[in-house]
Amino acid sequence: MRRTAAIGISAIAIGAMIGLVGCSASGDAGGDKVLKISYIKTDAFTALDTLFTSVKADFEAANEGVTVELQPVAGTDDDYKTKLALSQRSAETAPDVFYEDTTALRSDAEAGFLLNLDDYVAEWDDWKQFDDAAKAAGAGDDGSIYAVSLGTDTRAIWYRESIFKAAGLTVPWKPSSWQDILDAAAAIKVSQPAVVPFNLYAGTGTGEGSNMQGFYELLYGTELGGDALYDSKSSKWVTGSQGFIDSLEFLDTLYSENYALTPAQALDPNIWQEVFGTMFPKGTLGATVEGSYTPSFWVEGGSYAWPEYADEMGAVAFPTQDGQEPGGVSMSGGWTLAVGAKSANPDLAFQFLAMALNKENALSYDNENSQIAVRADVAADPSYTAANPFVATVTDLVAVTHFRPATADYNQISVEVQRATEAIITGSATPKEAAAAYDAAIEGIVGADGVINKG
């Protein structure tokens, strides 16, 4: 009897010890304050890492006893957003300052992941330097400021001038309608059969990028213009529009005539690296739609350094469907810096954010990453306008640019658009079928009250 009791007691003791070991791992290390910074760093995107590494040194020097812990995530934008959202579920793992996409900002603010910065920016001298669009980009659904813009971007057609010249086209090239693009692609196909004439990203492989650098340039240039995806007056998602079908039909032509990449290439998540790194420098691609940050890959020290790009490449606005007003289409996005709502040191976190976005740091980041400046003092700086030969062209596109509807359900709808374009390029649906499937999916996400039929 006594023996069994002893066994029992020791078993309980062992159980308790296991429990204790499990707990003791979460003790804090020393009395130092630690700021965790989360952002994307890949082989092709190091601008932010450069920025934070230099800010870390300055910040630690200025604040005794504070350690800045950089937590770069090597992954695609989508993977990063998933990882960030997962880490924000617990105060243990949530970063203090992080890189936040403007499209995820509103839903993350609604989720309570982001610290309300109203009081902080009110006392921040630099805040008046930010333009109104940039301020609005960091606002949540309730109108409060939750993040501060790092810079914005626009999208243009980037084309290789020598290929266009060899096809007998005039350079600089100025397409005024979708038909001009098809004509140019046909001319390139005939004169240089080995070249991919005109690429437009599509499908789920490249994620959100396939919409931003592809389908939206088409859709926002159709009859409904800026309201082609989301009707701003009624705050409803558009279904049944002819513009949607027309856009898919254009995509269908581009892919079935082999003007664009093969569907298998287009669905490869890393295809953009090949576009920047191989296809343009080697002259196997005529044109593609890409962001204003394009030169950042090719400048000295960029991921795919190709100094000749300044003379070889041209950039021009994507045309509207039939050349209607305003004559061009561009899409803008942009990333911000935000402070975690669960941060143990919110004041320090904001100080770090403010230091990362001061004039000096914003200027070097915008220049290195070819961002469009959102600070007035940066935009006026001579080194900004001289950073690369395309700054003026892409900055002018701000006049015809569109922003995505930053609603909480946008990400789900974006995926449905990607699915529709993927069905077209893989040939699994006709434009009408894909548009009908999209309409049904959207109604499934936002409900019958959330859509407006423009058919």
């Binding site: 069994t4 009791a5 066994i7 029992g8 078993a11 309980i12 062992i14 159980g15 296991i18 989508d78 998933t82 959202a85 997962l86 579920r89 995820a104 839903s107 993350d108 609604e110 989720a111 309570g112 992941f113 499908g203 789920t204 492989g205 569907p263 298998a264 669905l267 998540p269 909480a408 359900d409 990400n411 789900q412 995926v415 993927e422 069905a423 893989t426 699994s428």
Partner: protein, 316 residues
């Protein structure tokens, strides 16, 4: 098993004194309770790490939990909405079908047949050949899954090893991962998984006493007959156990498919684990993804019950 040992077996008792009887049974139940104590930590751990996640997953699948938005911090109970949505989703039957095809073809049929044949051949082969072949086969299994997946990707991709070998003989291979995604992932899983079955069958075959096969040989049974009537029945238990293990492993296989095709193109290789991942983490719908995971759990449990029943069948 443990329960059978520990519960006091109901014995017919001569009840001379009802007082004494109840005292005895009380003491006996106390003894068995004390005997249970050493099991407490194990049961506690099982509850925390096995039952806990299952209950958590069941609960999660009944909410609208999401990665972001209001439902991220304050998920609401929505009953079986996720399940009704799942059963109406055209992707669901397709994913179930792909999962069944993947499991049946790559695990149940190919890995078992290939693993058993290899084990039989290796038993016959001379030691050196056996060692070399064994090493090559086991290498695929030793590789971490992510590495094996990248190797398979490099083999099947457009400019991969397979197409380069085909081009040597003048054939222009298709992009296997794009045109035949299921074929590619099934072949990759066979390559990776056959070693596991082979090793277990080899061990089982070594345990078959040679006297019995020799006796069958003297009775005039040929090679095929000896295999069907002597060897296979003797390793029946091993076959069932192996089948159960590889079925459950393959049902939940994620990394290999995700790395090779990402479930694409157009969801043509989206099995249930990939679908659950996409819904939960790509489309931020944790509740819906958890519902898919719970269905997978039920499917796995159903398979386990079938196999455990088969194991319990009377031995011959």
């Amino acid at each position: 098993m443990t329960a059978e040992v520990l519960t006091p077996s109901p014995q017919p008792e001569l009840r001379r004194d009802p007082e004494e009887g109840s005292r005895r049974s009380r003491r006996r139940s106390l003894t068995s309770l004390i005997r249970m104590i050493p099991l407490v930590p194990a049961i506690f751990l099982m509850l925390v790490f096995l039952a806990g996640p299952i209950i958590w997953s069941l609960w999660g699948s009944l909410t609208d939990a999401s990665l972001t938005g209001r439902a991220a911090t304050d998920p609401q109970f929505i009953g079986v909405d996720n399940y009704t949505r799942l059963f109406a989703d055209p992707l669901f039957p397709q994913s179930v079908w792909l999962t069944v095809v993947f499991t049946l073809v790559s695990a149940v049929i190919a890995q078992t047949v290939l693993g058993l044949s290899l084990a039989l051949l290796m038993n016959k082969a001379n030691k050196k050949v056996g060692a070399v072949v064994g090493t090559i086969i086991v290498a695929a299994w030793i590789l971490p899954e992510i590495v094996a997946a990248f190797v398979a990707y490099a083999f099947f991709s457009q400019d991969g090893t397979l197409n380069q070998m085909l081009s040597v003989v003048g054939l222009d291979g298709p992009n296997w991962l794009y045109s035949f995604p299921m074929l590619a992932v099934i072949c990759a899983n066979i390559w990776r998984g056959a070693a596991f079955s082979m090793m277990i069958y080899q061990a089982a075959l070594n345990d078959v006493p040679p006297e019995i096969t020799e006796a069958a040989m003297i009775d005039g049974a040929g090679g095929a007959k000896r295999l069907i009537y002597v060897t296979l029945p003797m390793i029946r238990q091993t076959i069932t156990t192996t089948l159960m293990l590889i079925t459950l492993q393959t049902l939940s296989l994620f990394t290999l498919i995700f790395v090779m095709t990402g479930g694409g193109p157009s969801n043509n290789s989206t099995t249930l684990p990939i679908l659950a991942y996409k819904e939960a983490f790509r489309f931020s719908d944790i509740g819906y993804g958890t519902a898919i995971a719970t269905v997978m759990l039920a499917v796995g449990a159903a398979f386990s019950i079938v196999y455990i029943r088969a194991l319990r069948a009377p031995k011959d």
